[in-house]
């Protein structure tokens, strides 16, 4: 019997907690705390505790064309027909749970090979944070808009230090877990303005922070008008990374006839791609890459099964802009390929896939916030921070 700990980053929310996957005889069977994690000190919420099984259910294990199993060659040949559509008829939806490297290659392929202009993230968000997670505890007034503590529990954890240090937690939003934790809560189902007492408290504070979820446009609009530093919380492990690549919220265009989509849906998460289903009837072709079956893969023209997030190495970027490693813990099922390799095949080798450090170097050269970060440096437990937008 062989047992090994593989230190990696949680596949769920944008906090970026480190954890140890326990790998027995090549298979991830459990999670052990990674006390050295600069983000969570080993603490994990429900989702992180189940990270070992997050990506092992309902796996897609062979390429499909119109629901029938085919060889990889046949599936790739079929998928390449997508390039015959004019760029403005192709929409591209990329998962914000992929590694930065896979996402970067996918965006390059979508822009340069498919010529698509409509590229986005389903349920994506936007905005950059002006604070780091370690700074939260130092704030004297924190305004939380929406149920932020429940959505990103280990980020919420840092807010208890605010109270312990004598600071105040203010809350605006519906009845929720976060409302219970706040010192002052104003309960509203929809927020259209900041209550006067909150505006005054934030303005009077020497060090105030406003927290909201990256996908919450109403909260973002309110936060923008406040003289406080923002913490924009992404609900997916690499939502910040997607935003850094310029990927906004996905929407079908008027002319869309074909869809190229990459999914990654861990257990316990909603199948956000179900929302795309009503539009599929209008499309002529759907190429879906994903590690597990979704409503979408059931009806796609071509399905290309990919390795899951804990089966290939790479980096992800947390809401605070901390770039951390995800490491391969389990072997991918036979017959599936790393998403980077799939992009390479679709692009006839334009994008090399094996050397992740080289892909990251290309990314760092192309995306200014990553300038100066070297892949190997990210190996350190503290990771590396992206620069300002």
């Amino acid at each position: 019997m062989e047992m090994e700990y593989v230190t990696t980053t949680c596949p769920y929310c944008g906090t970026g907690c480190g954890l140890n996957l326990i790998v027995v005889d090549g298979k991830a069977v459990g999670v052990a705390p990674y006390h050295r994690s600069p983000v969570g000190s080993g603490k994990l919420c429900t989702r992180g505790l189940h990270a070992a099984k997050a990506l092992s259910e309902w796996r897609l294990e062979m390429p499909l064309v119109k629901g029938e199993p085919v060889t990889w060659d046949a599936a790739i040949a079929e998928a390449k027909k997508l390039a015959a559509y004019p760029g403005d008829e192709i929409a591209v939806a990329i998962s914000s749970r992929l590694t930065n490297e896979a996402m970067f290659l996918a965006v390059g392929y979508a822009r340069n090979v498919l010529g698509a202009a409509n590229i986005g993230v389903v349920s994506g968000g936007c905005g950059a944070s002006a604070v780091k997670i370690a700074d939260l505890a130092k704030a004297d007034v924190v305004l939380m808009i929406g149920d932020v503590m429940k959505s990103l529990p280990v980020t919420g954890n840092k807010l208890y230090r605010v109270q312990a240090n004598g600071g105040r937690l203010l809350y605006l939003g519906p009845e929720s877990y976060t409302a219970v934790q706040a010192d002052t809560a104003v309960i509203v189902d929809e927020y259209t303005e900041i209550p006067a007492e909150f505006s005054e408290a934030v303005a009077a504070a020497a060090n105030s922070v406003v927290l909201y979820l990256a996908g919450d446009a109403a909260a973002a609009a309110l936060a923008a008008a406040l003289p406080a530093k923002t913490a924009v919380l992404y609900e997916t492990n690499n939502g910040r990374g997607a935003a850094a690549l310029g990927l906004g919220r996905f929407a079908f265009g008027e002319k869309t006839k074909a869809l190229f989509v990459i999914t990654e849906t861990p257990e316990r998460e909603e199948d956000i791609y179900a929302d795309l289903m009503p539009y599929l009837e209008k499309l002529e072709m759907v190429v879906a890459i994903g590690s597990n079956a979704t409503y979408l893969s059931d009806s796609a023209t071509v399905v290309l099964p990919s390795a899951a997030l804990n089966e290939y190495p790479g980096t992800v970027t947390s809401w605070e802009g901390r770039v951390q490693k995800v490491r391969a813990a389990s072997a991918a099922p036979e017959g599936v390929k790393c998403p980077c390799e799939i992009i390479c095949l679709l692009s006839d080798g334009t994008y090399a896939w094996e050397d992740k450090a080289a892909i990251f170097a290309d990314l760092a050269a192309a995306v200014p916030v990553y300038a100066g970060i070297v892949y190997e440096e990210i190996d350190r437990p503290d990771g590396a921070f992206i620069g300002e937008d």
Partner: protein
């Protein structure tokens, strides 16, 4: 022939082992493995850096030296890992180096038939407490004014947390600060709260109890003080000595005395910290209200249950919808009452439920505070032997008489009475 109760200075004879204080622990573990006494060693190894302690299952004796050296940021608990991932040592023989809390956890899981102790050799390590890695890094930057990455060694000695580091000029420096001083501050520095309350400093429930306390004279720093605590421990030490894996000599009589003094000073500090921390928790209704208020942070993630060495039920009562309404966050207080009722008599104060709580609920403090009260009432001391816990069996008439003698039929009143 070594027998239970014997004490020796021991050190490795191998030049490959560069352990702490003569490397006896690493050598004993290596011998247990190479001689076939065990199939594997579940060792604590240095991970990414000095602050990262990682469990490794070692089956090749040649790999043993990499586990040498102590890591005071190793706050992990090994026993539950053996239960969960190594089949409770039912099918394999293993040797495990253990702190006091690990040793206690092994006993409590063994009582509950979750680990087969017959297949486990426990090498106890004297432990003055551990510091959570991220707390240590912050503390070193703040109180020692040293970059945590510049530290290459840390130790706890003579009541101080001492670091050795490379300064900007490249020279080696060391700096120590009294643990009591570090822990008095408002920042929460120093050892984990549960370590501050711990009174299992020399784990004599292990097969051997090893440490550097009491090693003086010419062997100072070059040997480990080993107390033989069981026949199994005696057999391992004897065999390792006969095979030439470790060498031993009689301890200095003065060393014995010093070791006793160190241990009793630690125990006194533990008592003082218990009085202080339990005192802050308040009494009676005030204590209950404080527990309820802090428990309302709970998100029912079950990290406390996952990591608790007492919890082992397949069907957890906290997941039963007639007891705790499902999906409610924070959950009903019943969630915590169930934990208290099921665990408190056997809590070994390992601290995992608190250190790993994503919402910073001082779970271990609550549970330990109740355990010491239950110990006073029922005389059960968890983690030291195979005695069954209070809740394992009860003579109904005896228990009714005992309860009646308290003057109230309300157990909760007795625990929380003002």
């Amino acid at each position: 022939m070594t027998v239970k109760g014997d004490m020796v200075y021991a050190w490795t004879t191998s030049c490959d082992i560069h352990g702490e204080c003569g490397g006896a622990v690493t050598a004993l573990l290596q011998y247990a493995l190479s001689s076939g006494m065990v199939d594997a060693v579940l060792a604590v190894c240095r991970g990414a850096d000095l602050y990262d302690a990682k469990l490794e299952l070692i089956t090749d004796p040649a790999q043993m030296p990499k586990s040498a050296g102590s890591l005071h940021c190793g706050t992990l608990l090994s026993a539950k890992m053996v239960k969960k991932y190594l089949g409770g040592a039912r099918e394999m023989k293993i040797a495990v180096p253990v702190k006091g809390c690990d040793a206690m956890a092994f006993y409590e899981l063994a009582k509950r038939q979750q680990i087969n102790l017959d297949n486990v050799i426990l090498i106890g390590l004297n432990c003055g407490g551990t510091v959570s890695p991220m707390v240590a890094r912050e503390m070193i930057a703040d109180k020692y004014a040293v970059h945590p990455d510049a530290v290459f060694k840390e130790e706890i000695d003579k009541g101080q947390f001492i670091i050795e580091y490379t300064d900007e000029g490249g020279a080696h420096q060391h700096k120590g600060i009294s643990i009591e001083v570090l822990e008095e501050g408002p920042e929460g520095y120093g050892r984990r709260q549960n370590c501050q309350r711990c009174k299992c400093k020399v784990p004599r429930q292990a097969d051997l109890a090893c440490g550097n306390w009491g090693v003086i004279g010419e062997k100072a720093g070059k040997a480990t003080f080993v107390e033989v605590c069981s026949e199994k421990g005696a057999a391992l030490l004897d065999a390792a000595v006969s095979a030439g894996a470790v060498a031993v000599c009689a301890p200095e009589p003065k060393g014995l005395e010093i070791r006793g003094k160190v241990e009793s000073a630690m125990l006194k500090l533990g008592d003082k910290n218990r009085a202080h921390q339990f005192g802050e928790l308040g009494e009676g209704r005030e204590r209950l209200e404080r527990i309820m208020r802090l428990s309302s942070r709970c998100i029912a993630c079950r990290a406390c249950i996952e990591n608790c060495p007492i919890c082992y039920c397949v069907e957890c009562s906290t997941a039963k919808p007639h007891l705790v309404r499902p999906g409610q966050v924070p959950p009903d207080f019943m969630f915590h009452l169930i934990r208290f009722a099921h665990i408190a008599d056997s809590c070994i104060n390992c601290g995992q439920c608190q250190e790993l709580c994503p919402m910073d609920i001082p779970n271990a403090l609550f549970m330990h505070a109740q355990q010491v009260e239950l110990e006073k009432m029922f005389g059960h001391r968890p983690g030291y032997d195979m005695t069954m816990p209070v809740l394992a069996f009860a003579e109904e008439m005896d228990e009714r008489a005992r309860l009646s003698a308290t003057g109230s039929d309300m157990i909760f009143d007795n625990v929380f009475n003002e």
